[in-house]
């Protein structure tokens, strides 16, 4: 029996974000002239660390292993939500620390950190959302600050344009999604996922079209959040335009948030066994996964701009993660389904570190004002070897080479897809993964192989940014052997969804 106090305790990760946001409000209100933003960043980072610690402790204690429903089932705290909150906490902490140097010269730092923590709050709520209403609200809570964050460099055309596109596509998507929710409500009479699931049998017989269109539209909204094709259009532009730490935050945490809610909504709210006759969303996700990873990787292959390449690669990774849903064909039995879904979670988990790290490295280079194209990275390895080793770790881990946890998680994902009876999906992923090696290694090539066109003249070695990049690198590397800490959690969390 979970007491009231314990319930609040279970929400402590989200609360950590909220408290951090409040603290930032207070600080900004009373000490608006904090020159270098160190305190603000520290508060945000502490909020993130507190959130990840809390979720870590909760995970290890196992109190939420079976899932605890709160507020009449509107929220649920279980392994999956805690695991993802752990991701959000880590990414928030990393991004906050890195931002100290990145936005040192810019005004309105408090707003920046505030928006970050608020978005993180929204994400942690998304991870726990157990009703379509909460899903929508939390989605907006995490999206609206993100729009503003992208536009943070408000005198920079790219930043503003990115924000505009992000916002417009986002608004369209949220419109589509909420309309979809309304249709599902029309068909089932409920917004609570468990009730929706139990109402499916009768209602889907009466209004198959309404339910189907509704679900399809909900999937569209989720695809926007995860930057999956065809709702991905905002992503390259927004990531490229946004301040690099924000791009890191969006491409890692925000994407993970989209996935966690997608996992829960579809697996819990629309079990494929009962809804397959109306809308075979597994097939839908197979299409989306293939298209997403292919488009992402192919488009990434020809980019000239590292940041934009990373943006497309993050679309590609969304494609991989979608395998977690696309493989739930029920051909391999529940064990296999939990495996592939858990592998997808693990991949997002590792991705949170490696992708954040990669974007933070871009932030570092932007901080040095070296430029954004591959050529601008030429010879960087001689000037900043440590950071470049870290970047090498990130991109190779993203590519699925065994320098970091990305190797294991990606291959777990492919293995899971095979086990779930869709080996062809794994093959498509494999081909894409090999292609990705091509463009990722261009970064490595530029850094280590190419000589610089002219002396780079790096003088500053920003401590905080370095610390964030290195932390991300170390964690990425350690996750290779250390995935053992999380793999059981992920697979159990996945199994408990079914």
């Amino acid at each position: 029996m979970v007491t009231m106090a314990n319930e609040w305790l279970l929400l402590s990760p989200a609360a950590a974000f909220v408290l951090a946001a409040l603290a930032l409000f207070v600080i900004d209100a009373f000490a608006p002239e904090d020159a270098d933003g160190g305190l603000l960043a520290a508060v945000a980072a502490v909020g993130g660390i507190a959130a990840l610690s809390a979720s870590g402790v909760l995970l290890l204690s196992g109190v939420a292993a079976d899932g605890v429903e709160l507020f009449g089932g509107q929220l649920v705290v279980d392994g999956m939500s805690l695991l993802f909150t752990f991701i959000f906490g880590s990414v928030t902490a990393l991004v906050s620390v890195a931002s100290v140097d990145y936005i040192r010269e810019l005004p309105h730092k408090a707003e920046y950190y505030l928006l970050v923590t608020l978005a993180a709050t929204g994400m942690s709520l998304l991870a726990s959302a157990n009703s379509l209403a909460v899903v929508f609200v939390a989605l907006e809570l995490s999206s609206l600050p993100s729009y503003a964050l992208v536009a943070y460099l408000k005198r920079n055309r790219g930043s503003v344009e990115g924000a505009l596109k992000y916002f417009l596509v986002g608004a369209l998507s949220s419109g589509i999604m909420v309309y979809g929710i309304s249709l599902v409500y029309a068909a089932t009479g409920s917004l609570l996922l468990s009730d929706v699931a139990s109402a499916l049998g009768g209602a889907s017989a009466d209004y198959p079209g309404v339910l189907g269109v509704g679900l399809l539209m909900i999937v569209g909204g989720l695809a926007f959040k995860t930057a999956s094709v065809p709702f991905h259009f905002w992503a390259p532009d927004a990531y490229e335009g946004a301040p690099a730490p924000v791009a890191a935050f969006l491409s890692s945490a925000s994407k993970a948030a989209g996935f966690v809610v997608a996992f829960r909504v579809l697996v819990v709210g629309f079990p494929i066994g009962t809804i397959a006759g109306t809308l075979d969303w597994v097939l839908l996700f197979q299409v989306l996964a293939v298209v997403t990873m292919t488009l992402g990787n192919f488009a990434a292959a020809t980019q000239e701009n590292v940041k934009r390449m990373l943006a497309y690669s993050s679309i590609g990774h969304a494609g991989y993660a979608l395998i977690g849903l696309a493989a739930l064909t029920n051909a391999g039995g529940p064990g296999a389904e939990a495996t592939v879904l858990g592998a997808s979670m693990l991949h997002l988990f590792v991705y949170g570190f490696m992708n954040t790290g990669a974007f933070l490295f871009v932030a570092l280079v932007e901080h040095w004002e070296l430029g954004r194209t591959f050529e601008d990275y030429n010879g960087l390895g001689r000037e900043a070897p440590v950071a470049c080793v870290a970047m090498t770790v990130f991109v190779f881990s993203l590519a699925g080479l065994p320098v970091g946890g990305g190797f294991l998680s990606k291959y777990f994902l492919f293995a899971g897809a095979v086990g779930a009876g869709v080996p062809w999906l794994a093959l498509v992923g494999a081909v894409n993964s090999a292609l990705s090696l091509y463009y990722y290694s261009r970064v490595v090539k530029a850094m280590w192989i190419e000589p610089p066109a002219e002396p780079l003249g790096i003088e500053r070695y920003p401590t905080a940014l370095y610390a964030a990049v290195l932390t991300a690198a170390v964690v990425t590397v350690l996750l290779l052997p250390g995935l053992v800490v999380f793999d059981g959690i992920a697979f159990e969390a996945a199994a408990s969804l079914f």
Binding site: L401, P402, G421, A430, L435, I449, V484, D487
Partner: protein, 515 residues
């Protein structure tokens, strides 16, 4: 703990060298490559394993620890050596030490990074040969790519970037295909195995416990699954080997790679492919291998003949040697598909022999290149009069490559030929064998031709470099290799005994082994 000590000593060495100033890096790297070498030699001397590591043999230096959980399957840390892997580990350490020596002259830029990567590569290679759990093995398997990519890319020739990326992506995509194929097998076994451990999988597969991938209604039936997985794995490894028609990355990589990297690439990296073929395809799926014996043997024969013809057409000495590797690796495939003790054992022996011989040739070509700065056969002639010791070694190496008796290559090829000839698995085995054996004529043709053009005749050189005798640290490794090659040729049982011991179980699968 010996294997851990081996790998860690390599990785530690890599880390130390990486942070050493360039000035001290070469000698330090050589010094740091000695402990792994000594350890591996100790492992060889004290080897007490018997049988095949995957098929219930006594595994030497075994370590087991629990690691990950992939859904229903445990992924463990499991390493150990048997008669097949131990010679390859020793090969790796020997070649690494020697190639570090051979790098002293040509590598004059970013030395500490170079030697660090070489040691890193060594550690990964040992891991590949020692790992007995699939995922652990795969970690090392893929890890090998990174140092090699950088070695080619940073220190290579003019087209190094193209060659490096081609190597990188091509072999990576193959690994991925293989990975998918193998996991299809694991999941096809269902509850018959509870981990990704290679011994368990091998025994379950040989015991015929493969079931449907998925459910019987919508899944893939066991027969189809086995064949499909076999093909996926075969293609995956064939790229690494490389086998025609998946070989085109090899000449590019070899030509552009710096000498020490070529040595390791040809000497050890190619063996990863054949080693994996032996460990996975031919140990785990013997029936499928038997079913596909004819096409596989055809590919092997084509690789041998076609690779040799390509070598014949080359003007660049290094390309000659590179293509000849394609040819030599064909013998390995032929030996494997024969499913006889001599065939499979000979294939393994050929891995070691070719490792030494091709390493020798690449090193020697490197020594010439250091002196002349050209590798084009047409640009030089009469080098033997200026560099007698090197030329002697080159001649020795070339004859080793041609399969001169009492050198390792001959014994290897003879084993393979005997094994293939007597194969009962392969239809028309004598015909395949006879065609394959014609490779020894072509190989003699192009190597003799290359030697005649480059070493002999009046001295001429179209470069501005002064020629002198090669320094001792260039000569020492190649002479060592010659000694090793002859030693293995005169006393093949130095390693063949343990190899044979480990292959007996592989070939004993209903179709008899050997005569």
């Amino acid at each position: 703990m010996l294997i851990e000590a081996l790998v860690v000593s390599c990785l530690l060495g890599a880390a130390i060298v990486f942070f050493t100033p360039d000035r001290y890096a070469p000698k330090l790297a050589f010094g740091l490559s000695v402990p792994p070498l000594v350890l591996s030699l100790y492992a060889y001397v004290a080897f007490d394993g018997s049988g095949n590591a995957l098929l219930g043999g006594e595994i030497a230096y075994e370590t087991f620890a629990e690691w990950l959980q992939l859904g229903p399957y445990a992924v463990n840390y499991h390493v150990g050596l048997d008669g097949i892997s131990l010679p390859l580990v020793v090969l790796s350490t020997v070649l690494t030490t020697l190639s570090i020596l051979s790098a002293w002259t040509p590598i004059d830029d970013r030395q500490s990074e170079f030697y660090g990567l070489v040691l890193l590569l060594e550690g990964s290679l040992i891991g590949v040969f020692a790992a007995l759990d699939f995922l652990l093995w795969f970690v090392f398997w893929e890890a090998v790519l990174i140092p090699m990519y950088l070695l080619i890319g940073v220190w290579g020739g003019p087209r190094r970037k193209y060659a490096a990326i081609k190597f990188f992506v091509y072999t990576n995509i193959a690994s991925l295909v293989m990975f998918v194929g193998f996991f299809a097998l694991i999941f096809g076994l269902g509850d018959a195995v509870s981990s990704t451990g290679m011994p368990a999988i091998a025994e379950a597969l040989r015991a015929g416990q493969l079931g449907y991938l998925g459910t019987p209604t919508v899944g893939v039936p066991p027969d189809t699954l086995a064949i499909a997985a076999f093909l996926a794995m075969f293609v995956g490894f064939a790229v690494k080997v490389p086998v025609v028609p998946f070989h085109t990355w090899l000449p590019d990589a070899h030509v552009e790679a710096p000498t020490p990297a070529s040595v390791l690439l040809a000497g050890v990296l190619l063996k990863m492919g054949t080693y994996a073929l032996l460990r996975f395809n031919f140990t785990m799926l013997p029936e499928q291998a038997a079913t596909l014996a004819v096409p596989i043997a055809a590919i092997a024969v084509i690789s041998i003949i076609y690779g040799a013809l390509l070598a014949l057409a080359q003007q660049d000495l290094k390309r000659v040697v590179a293509y000849s590797s394609v040819s030599s690796m064909g013998y390995v495939i032929l030996g494997l598909v024969a499913y006889t003790v001599y065939g499979v054992g000979g294939a393994t022996f050929q891995m070691v022999a070719h490792g030494l011989i091709s390493g020798l040739l690449f090193m020697t070509v490197g020594v010439f290149y250091n002196a002349t700065h050209t590798r084009m056969i047409g640009d030089m002639s009469g080098l033997a009069s200026k560099m007698p010791a090197t030329a002697t070694v080159f001649v020795a190496g070339a004859f080793g490559y041609m399969g001169l008796p009492l050198m390792a290559g001959f014994m290897a090829e003879l084993f393979v030929f005997i094994g293939a000839f007597e194969s009962t698995v392969l239809p028309a085995a004598p015909v395949f064998t006879a065609i394959a054996m014609f490779g020894i004529v072509i190989v003699a043709g192009y190597l003799l031709w290359a030697m005649q053009r480059s070493l002999f005749g009046p001295f001429e050189l179209e470069t501005d470099y002064e020629l002198g005798r090669a320094p001792v640290h260039d000569i020492a490794p190649i002479v060592t290799l010659v000694v090793l090659i002859v030693a293995l040729g005169v006393a093949p049982d130095l390693i063949f005994e343990m190899i044979r011991d480990a292959t007996l179980d592989v070939v004993e699968f209903g179709f008899g082994g050997g005569s």
